[in-house]
């Protein structure tokens, strides 16, 4: 069974391993045998204006999405963990729904509404869509952060004369910050890589995945796409490793075991 699991891991990683292989390959065709080492595809990257502008669009959208979905996630996770209120199950169910809803449904329904309201779509509408789909991920990360806080700590702070606001800043926030950072990083990564919603809602300001999509049609552009993909995958893995480390540190701080993953 160990062998099977390793084989499965190889299957999972096989396509991703090919990415750097062809990104450094000195040939315009993506095929074996490899033709020798080159970094020219990477050197070309910053010289393409459409690419660099799409990178900035993506970074802008991902940053705002990360902040918005984390703030909304804090509200929802806090309410779900600490309070009992009317309609809690249906309300939380609706908020978590985008997790299982096909993205194309989210994309077309937002498109219809925005166009009908006469709003011109652009980066803001991509942010709206991305915030919606990132929120459930933020909530599931922050849920465990809030669950690990001993309510007695906050009560003690209130009893000792702190206000609710200062208790939040001085007691709650320091305890949840690893989860907070993890949520920001995960939301940023999801938004950065998301294609379908961005494709429907981005209009004249393409995000990086939308730009990539437009380049896939041109065989001569493929090595550059491979180089770009390599950088994107490296960035995603880096952000994730950081998020995972923080998440575990947070759990250890709260004296919990560090088993289990993000989801």
């Amino acid at each position: 069974m160990r062998a099977y699991t390793w084989a499965y891991l190889i299957f999972l990683y096989a396509p991703i391993v090919l990415l750097p292989l062809f990104a450094f390959n000195d040939s315009t065709t993506i095929a074996f045998p490899l033709q020798g080492f080159t970094t020219k595809w990477f050197v070309q990257l910053p010289t393409i204006p459409a690419l660099t502008s799409s990178v900035w669009t993506s970074v802008k959208i991902a940053s705002i999405t990360a902040v918005l979905s984390t703030i909304l996630g804090v509200c929802a996770a806090r309410a779900a963990v600490r309070y009992r209120f009317i309609g809690k199950r249906p309300i939380m169910g609706l908020i978590m729904l985008p997790l299982v809803l096909p993205e194309i449904i989210v994309a077309v329904s937002l498109l219809v509404v925005f166009l009908q309201l006469g709003l011109s779509i652009g980066s803001w509408s991509v942010i709206a869509g991305h915030t919606l789909i990132c929120m459930p991920f933020a909530i599931s990360i922050l849920n465990s952060s809030f669950q690990n806080i001993d309510p007695a700590l906050e009560e003690a702070s209130l009893d000792l004369g702190e206000t609710r606001v200062s208790t939040f800043y001085r007691v709650t926030l320091p305890l949840i910050w690893p989860g907070l950072i993890a949520s920001l990083l995960i939301s940023f990564t999801i938004s950065l890589d998301e294609f379908i919603i961005a494709f429907f809602l981005s209009s004249t300001e393409p995000t990086l995945p939308v730009y990539l999509w437009s380049q896939l049609r041109f065989p001569t552009k493929l090595p550059v796409v491979m180089a770009l993909g390599t950088l994107l995958v490296c960035l995603s893995i880096l952000l994730l490793a950081l998020a995972e480390t923080l998440r575990r540190r947070g759990l250890r701080k709260a004296g919990q075991s560090t088993e289990g993953g993000f989801l």
Binding site: M1, G73, R84, I104, V108, L192, P209
Partner: protein
């Protein structure tokens, strides 16, 4: 005391209202709008808001829509079956045979590919499976085949392989969680009472893992129906699915109401199948998920 409860309830509602309102505006409202839209018609750019079921009639009569929906359901079913069956041993191995301190590392390793750009992963499968792709050029180089094999790209096989790869972590994680919850003492008890390893697996482990299997099935099946990139990139003409048609109606044919009707039909089909599946499980396997 009652006052305290209602105070607590108000505070909770107040706190949950920003995310709740966001979801109402960005999800519930638009979903309602899609349903409303599907009963309208559009002629190029003019929208006719008279209530009509014309789109649904057209969807039922034109065989292309039924074909695409049927194919989507078939692909989603095949991908789900393949993913869940291949994922189970992996989840089992991590839960039962990996040291507790190493479990989160394994889970992290499995989830990493999922977090990298979906678009790039799908495109890489095209590179792997293509006519001049990695498999073909590799096999020719080694001398196993003379001419490129073509049954692996631009058809449903390619779509199924690629989707099974993309949704693997979705299947592994819920199964893993269910397996982790199983009290190991139950397995020992079964062995002590004389059951073999195999019988213990089928009579104790598997039934207790069913909630995870049900969750895995749903969490793979539902999004696969809406997938649009994979059929487009590796499916070829015979591999397109209902989501591609929805996209075409919206962005190419300027027929948003027809696209909306198709989106509603897919959502209803998915909901019916998912509900039926959960009901069958409860009915015959006594699973509560």
């Amino acid at each position: 005391m009652a006052d305290d409860v209602s105070h607590n309830s108000r505070r909770g509602l107040l706190l949950v209202s920003p995310p709740f309102l966001t979801t109402l505006v960005l999800l519930a409202g638009p979903l309602g709008a899609i349903i409303l839209f599907s009963f309208w018609t559009q002629d190029y750019l003019t929208l006719n808001t008279d209530f009509t079921i014309k789109n649904y009639v057209e969807a039922a009569q034109d065989p292309i829509y039924g074909l695409l929906l049927g194919r989507s359901l078939l692909v989603a079913g095949a991908v789900t079956l393949l993913t869940v069956i291949t994922a189970f041993p992996v989840a089992y191995f991590i839960s039962f045979h990996v040291k507790p301190s190493r479990k989160s590392l394994w889970l992290f390793l499995i989830t990493i590919p999922f977090w990298t750009s979906y678009l790039i992963r799908v495109f890489l499968w095209k590179v792997v499976l293509g006519f001049n792709g990695v498999i073909n050029s590799g096999l020719i180089e080694v001398g196993i085949i003379d001419a490129p094999i073509t049954f692996i790209l631009y058809n449903l096989n390619a779509v199924i392989i690629t989707l099974a790869h993309a949704f693997a972590p979705f299947a592994i994680l819920p199964i893993f969680v269910a397996l982790e919850k199983i009290d190991r003492a139950l397995l020992e008890a079964s062995r002590d009472l004389g059951e073999t390893r195999v019988a213990t697996f089928f009579r104790v482990t598997l039934p207790l893992a069913m909630p995870g299997l049900v969750a895995a099935t749903l969490i793979v099946f539902i999004p696969v129906i809406g997938d649009y990139i994979t059929p487009r990139l590796v499916g070829g003409p015979g591999g397109l699915m209902i989501a591609n048609m929805i996209q075409t109606q919206f962005l190419k044919l300027n027929n948003a109401p027809m696209g909306a009707a198709l989106a509603v039909i897919s959502m209803v089909a998915v909901t019916v199948i998912a509900t039926l599946f959960v009901w069958l499980n409860r009915r015959f396997l006594k699973v509560r998920s």
